[in-house]
């Protein structure tokens, strides 16, 4: 059961997820990177079965790249990317749904504004300041409710994320030893830290 969460701060957004790849009672690997980079200034943390996770995030990121190539380098804003992603989830919903729950974060380089979106496998979408998917939400939302405020800087946002990770490692039944944390700001998508070097699949 994957933990994915995101926190928006002044000038960017952090997306974090665990690095476990497991099914039933077996853990296959503990260095999977579940925060997929969609474009130069956006990324989405994805939770769900490995096949849908990989296929859906690659499908979205390649389609966004195609848009850029077909439109003279014109990039889609995070708002547009989130709505496109939600549209793809909605279209697939009645045919063969993607069982993925997503936290999508991006930085709009034209408006100079960060944004974070919560999308679930039923194609619901909400723009949020912070959020979590999966069992992580039960443990982490209260921490974020308490500590988040307007005008955080990156260190403070990372501190909130690290508090959430510690809480999961103390109280969550499933051991998730490794987490990967990425920040998206005006300089693009940067990996801030990872528990284990992600495998390139």
């Amino acid at each position: 059961m994957d933990s994915v969460f995101g926190v928006e701060y002044d000038g960017g957004v952090i997306i974090a997820s665990d690095q476990n790849n497991a099914r039933s009672i077996l853990t296959y690997q503990t260095n999977l990177d579940k925060v997929a980079e969609l474009s130069s200034h956006s990324a989405m943390g994805v939770s769900g079965p490995n096949a849908d996770l990989v296929n859906f995030s690659q499908y979205i990121s390649k389609n966004l790249a195609l848009y850029e190539l077909s439109n003279n380098g014109l990039k889609l804003s995070p708002h547009a990317q989130a709505n496109f992603t939600r549209g793809e989830l909605a279209t697939a919903l009645r045919k063969g749904p993607y069982q993925v729950n997503i936290m999508l974060g991006g930085y709009d380089t034209i408006k100079n504004q960060a944004s974070l979106y919560w999308l679930d496998h039923l194609a619901a979408m909400a723009k949020v300041n912070y959020g979590a998917q999966g069992y992580a939400s039960s443990f982490c939302l209260s921490i974020m409710d308490r500590d988040w405020k307007e005008g955080l800087n990156q260190e403070q946002a990372v501190a909130i994320v690290e508090k959430c990770i510690k809480e999961l490692q103390v109280r969550f039944l499933i051991a998730q030893p490794n987490f990967i944390i990425k920040a998206i700001d005006k300089d693009g998508v940067n990996t801030l830290s990872f528990g284990a070097d992600p495998a390139d699949n």
Binding site: R23, A51, K95, Q99, N201
Partner: protein, 241 residues
């Protein structure tokens, strides 16, 4: 019927026929020993309120790992039909080309037909491009086919392994379309027993005979404890040559 509108993103009609056939056979065999398989497939997609079900869906034990001189694969040879031993001498490792192997776990027919298709596709790619195909590409071909057919109740849990210009690699691919690269995998109903031995005794810098002994030991322990694994133990070594 064919489940879902996305039943064929396959390049040719052979694959489409395959998808329809396996959903037909799934319908006829439903009931009896196939029921627990359906339960596993269904419950994986919901949040389980109790303890998660044990993975019995692939009645075999196969393992492979990378050691300091190559790749080792070890498999058992039992084919079970429910609680009955169908064969003690099944061949569960199939060559894809002369530098790659695929192991078979799950439905014997599903695995052998898809690996045979993979043999043809990889040969085609090699001829078209004029150079050996990479393990990543072969495993991706298989994973894409299986993802397209993920609603057809296939049962495939295979490891694609081999040497290419990036060195040795092993990819685990299954019927849901999962594809994971790594250096140690075990697949099948006896996989947890084999992993217990493998995880405790494996070291990075093993020599070939130590690796072979470890592979045999792991499968032996798995066949001892797992009712669905047995027969003889087949060991394969892939080196750079």
């Amino acid at each position: 019927f064919v489940k879902g509108a996305n039943a064929s993103i396959l390049p040719d009609s052979f694959g489409k026929f395959e998808g329809q056939l396996s959903s037909l056979s799934a319908l006829q065999v439903r009931g009896g020993e196939m029921d627990w398989k359906a339960d596993i497939l269904n419950s994986e997609e919901e949040e389980s309120t109790g303890a998660p079900p044990l993975e019995f869906a692939h009645g075999t034990t196969t393992l492979s790992f990378i050691y300091d001189g190559g790749i080792l694969a070890a498999v058992d040879s039992r084919a079970s039909i429910g609680n009955f031993v169908g064969s003690k001498t099944t061949q569960k490792v199939l060559p894809i080309n002369n530098h790659m192997l695929g192991t078979m776990a799950g439905g014997a027919a599903d695995c052998s037909i898809w690996i045979r298709k993979l043999q043809a596709e990889s040969r085609h790619c090699e001829l078209a491009e004029g150079r050996p195909i990479t393990v990543a590409r072969v495993s991706r071909l298989l994973a894409d086919y299986l993802y397209a057919n993920r609603n057809s109740d296939l049962s495939v849990g295979t490891m694609i392994m081999g040497y290419d210009e990036q060195g040795p690699s092993i990819y685990y691919v299954d019927n849901k379309g999962t594809r994971i690269g790594g250096d140690l995998f075990s697949v099948g109903s006896g996989s947890t027993f084999a992993l217990g031995v493998l995880d405790t005794e494996r070291r990075r810098n093993m020599k070939e005979d130590e690796a072979i002994n470890l592979g045999i030991k792991a499968i032996r322990h798995a066949t001892f404890r797992d009712a669905f694994s047995g027969g003889y133990i087949a060991v394969y070594v892939i080196t750079k040559e």
